[in-house]
Amino acid sequence: MAKNTRGIEVAEIISDKCIACQICIGECPVGAIELSSEGVARVDAETCVGCGKCADSCPVEAVKFEKKRRKKAKEEPKTQEVSLASYQGVAVFIETVHGKGAQVSWELVGKARLLAESLGVRVMGFLLGSGVESIAEEAIAYGCDEVHAINDPLLLHYRSAAYGKALADLCNDVHPEILLIGATHLGRDLAGVVATRLQTGLTADCTGLFIEQETRLLLMTRPTFGGNIMATIFCQNHRPQLSTVRPRVFKMPEKDMGRKGDIREHSWEPPAFELPEIVEFIAAKSGSEDIAKYPALVVAGRGACDPATMPMLEELAKLVGGVIACSRPVVESGLMPYERQVGQTGKTVAPRLYIGVGVSGAVQHLVAIQGADKIVAINTDPNAPIFKVADVGIVGNFTKIVPELIAQLKAKLGTNGKRESA
C-alpha cells in the first residue's frame, strides 16, 4: 500500500483491470483521478485524500485500496420507489416482417415465459401495425398470455417516431416490468426511441437474461469492448427494464395453436408532429442476404479469395444449411459485397457452425465470431491465429479439403442437404 508525502494511504489503479469507465473520476471528491493517455485511470497520489470512494464505485475491482476505513462508506441500497411495484409482467415487442411475426420476437416470447415463470407474472406481446390480427393469435400460440395491440394505418410501415410513441404509450398503459425487443435494424432503432421516451435504461444486444430472485431484478449480460468483456447490467430504479436481444440467442419456443390468451386492442392517439414519408422501397438485389440470420456460415478469407472457389464454398454452405460470407480482404478485393463481411466493421455473427476457409483470424474478425457455437478452421498455415479459437482445425490446402469435407458430410448426414428458409 503506497503512501503519499502526507502519509496518507492512497488508492492505486490496477492498469490491467481498469476498463476506463470513468466512474471513479466522477466519485472522487478531490479530483485526484484522471484518465491517462493510455486509457486507464490514474490517481494523483498527492491530491488523493484516501477516502476509498473510488474503490467502492469501481465495477471491476481495479482499485487497490485496502485501508481499514472507520466507517464503511458503502451506500445502503436505495429503497425501491413504491411506484415500481405497479409495473408487472414481461412484455415482448412483436416485430412484423411482411405481415408475419419476426422469428426473433418468438424467440423472445420463449425466453419471456421463463423469466415470467420465475417472477410469477404474465407474458405480454406488444403488437403494432395495421391488420395484424393473425399475428396476435400467433403470439398467443408461441406463449403470450395477453397481446396488447395498436392497430392504425399510420403504423403500416415502420417509422421511428410513430412506432416509438405507440410502444411507449402501450408501456404507459400496461406497465410491464420488463420489455424485450429483438436487436434487428428496426428493433435497435425503436428501442433507443422508446427508452428515451420512457426515461428508462436500455441494455442493447444482450446475450443472457436472468432474474435475480432476491431483488426481482433483470440481470442483462452483454458483450462490450469488441466482445472481449461481458458486462452484467441491471436497471434498479426505472421501469420497464428494457433490453434488446440479437436473433438466435434464444431457442424458438414450441407453437401451440390451442393455447388461450387475451387480445386487447388499445385506442391510440397518433403523434401530433409531422412524420417522415416513405417515398420508395428498393428491394435488395437477389443474392443479397443477411448473413447473421443463418445457423451456419462458410466464410472465405484472404487465402480463398478467388472467384473459382466460390461454387465449392456455396455447395458446402448449402449442405450445412447456411450461406457464404467473407472476411474484410475479400470485400476489399471486390469479390463479395460489404453486407457479407464478418468482422468488427462488418457483421457480428453467432451461428451454430462457422467454417473459416483461408481465414487467418485477425483480431477484428475473431471478436465478431466469438459467439459461434462451433468454429472449424481450414488454413495452410498451422500458426494462423484462428486455430487458437477453432474447435476443430484442418491444416492444408482447402481446394482438396473442402470437396472431401462435402463428401464426408453428405455421407454422414445421409441427405443431399436442404437449404433452410430463413
Binding site: 435494424h185 433507443g192 422501397f281 443479397s288 460489404y338 483480431v363 491465429p385 479459437v389 482438396k400
Partner: protein
Amino acid sequence: MHFVCCLKQVPDTVEVKIDPETNTLVRAGVESISNPYDVVAVEEAVRLKERYGGKVTALSMGPPQADAVLRQAIAMGADQGVLLSDRAFAGSDTLATSYTLSKAIETLSKELPVDVVLCGKQAIDGDTAQTGPGIATRLDLSLFTYVIAVDWIDPEKKRIQVRRAVEGGTEVITGPLPALLTVELDLAQPRRAKLPQLVHSLRAPITVWSGKEISASPQLLGIKGSPTWVRAITSPPARHGGPKFDAQQGTPAAVTGAVQTLFSDEDFAAKFKEKREA
C-alpha cells in the same frame, strides 16, 4: 444550414493485440481514435455544407484529451469544435449521454438553429447504437437511422430526403427538418485533410462546456442520470483451440478426424440436425 456532428473517442481496436493465452484484447498502449462511423458523419456534414452552405459544428463528450477527435473534424472542414467535459458527466450510460448531447445541441441552437445532426450508426467500443435515436427523441428531430445516402435537402421548405439501409433493401424516405441522421460506413469516404486545414485544426480553440453552460440538470447527468448500472464484468468464456488435423498425412483422414471431433459433441450434433432440417 447548421450541421452538428457528434463524435466519440474510442480505443483503436485495430491496434489491439490478442493475448494468445487468455484470448483477450491487450489494452495497454492502445491508441484512442475517433469512432470510424462518426468520421463518416463529419465527412457527410462537410459535403452538405459545401453543397448547401452553412456551418458545421463538431461535438464530443469526454475527458479533456478527447479534443483530438474535434481537431480531426476541424481538419476535415468543421468550423468549430465543442467538447463537453465535466467530472459530472462520468459514468454516463446512453440515456445520460443522449441527454447531455441534446442539451448541448439546444445550447448551440440558441446561437444558430441546428438543421441536421449527424451521428455514426454506432460506436465500435460499445456497439449500442442508442445515442442517436435518444437525441432525436429528446429534441423532436426527424430520425433517420442507417443512412447510406442523402438525396437532397430543401433549405426553403425545410425538408430532407435520405436513403436508409433496412432489412431486405433500401428505403427512400423524406421528412421535415430539423433531422438527425445516423450514418453507415458506406455513406462517404472520409477525406484526407489539406495541410493548411490540418495546421489550423491544431491551433483552433476548442470550446469546453461543463454541465452549467448547457443548463443541464445535475441529477440527469453522469452516473446519477444513468438508469443502468454495471453489476459485474467478466471475461467471456475463453475459447480454446481444439485438435488440429494435418492434411499432409492424407486429406481424407484429416477430414474424417475433424468431422468426428465436431460431431462428438452430441448436443451440437442434435441441434445441428434440427436446425438444418428446419
